[in-house]
């Protein structure tokens, strides 16, 4: 029952977010992670929204693969990670990282180097 890793590229336009969720849902179900689909939809939407809003990337690559008994979703952009806010939050905001960390088992955010920019968010959900 091994299913190959898949990767799909999306433009950084909010209109594609429902398609990103469909993609992740189908791939998670193919790998028998149906029970986690709602958490994964949320996490992948937050990661892609951040890439769209903050990074300036030209494309977003979403990958889905099985790693042992876990499903790993990666969201990669080629933009720049922003430490400082690029839009006023009037005291709200920063819920995205918290929500992602809250719904997956392993959450990681890796920034590129100057010679290879971009941010990779890894979202891992495991069967117990």
């Amino acid at each position: 029952m091994s299913v190959q890793a898949v990767r799909k590229t999306f433009p950084p336009m909010p209109e594609v977010l429902p398609d990103v969720r469909r993609f992740v849902t189908v791939e998670a179900e193919r790998r028998s992670f149906t029970e986690f689909v709602q958490d994964l939809q949320l996490a992948v939407t937050e990661a892609c929204s951040n890439a769209m809003r903050h990074s300036g990337t030209k494309e977003i690559r979403v990958g889905v693969s099985l790693v042992g008994s876990c499903l790993e979703i990666t969201v990669q952009d080629d933009g720049v990670y922003r430490a400082m806010p690029n839009e006023s939050q009037d005291g709200q905001g920063h819920r995205g990282l918290h929500l992602m960390a809250a719904v997956v088992d392993d959450f990681s955010l890796r920034r590129g180097r100057p010679e290879k920019p971009g941010t990779t968010v890894r979202l891992v959900k495991c069967k117990t």
């Binding site: 909010p14 209109e15 977010l17 939809q41 939407t45 819920r95 929500l99 719904v103």
Partner: protein, 106 residues
């Protein structure tokens, strides 16, 4: 015709709105605009969420902004969120902000 991904029906008489489908970065501006007229007069604003299938931090931002715009003049009341939407609202700590959540017991 396929059904729209997100829809919002606003009723200024009853100061309520019904949100249907998926509220995210693609639909949040539309929701904010549609809700703006409800903030003009004082009083609570009822948001019927039973048909909302997806909510993320962009959607929560809409809800919080609508609530804050009311200030002392009222509060947002969220009605009948599905269990996953409820979980997201709880993780986001929405109740701490004075926003009410009511399960109409459907």
């Amino acid at each position: 015709m396929t059904e729209p991904i997100f829809d919002i029906e606003v009723d200024t008489e009853t100061r309520s709105a019904r949100l249907t489908g998926e509220l995210d970065l693609a639909s949040c501006d539309r929701a904010t605009e549609a809700l703006a007229p409800l903030g003009v007069d004082p009083g609570d604003i009822q948001l019927e969420l039973s048909d909302l299938r997806f909510l993320d931090s962009s959607g929560i931002r809409v809800i919080v902004q609508t609530h804050r715009a009311l200030g002392e003049r009222g509060s947002v009341v969220l009605r009948s969120p599905n269990p996953h939407v409820m979980k997201i609202l709880e993780i986001a700590g929405i109740k701490d902000l004075g926003i009410k959540i009511e399960d109409s017991g459907v």
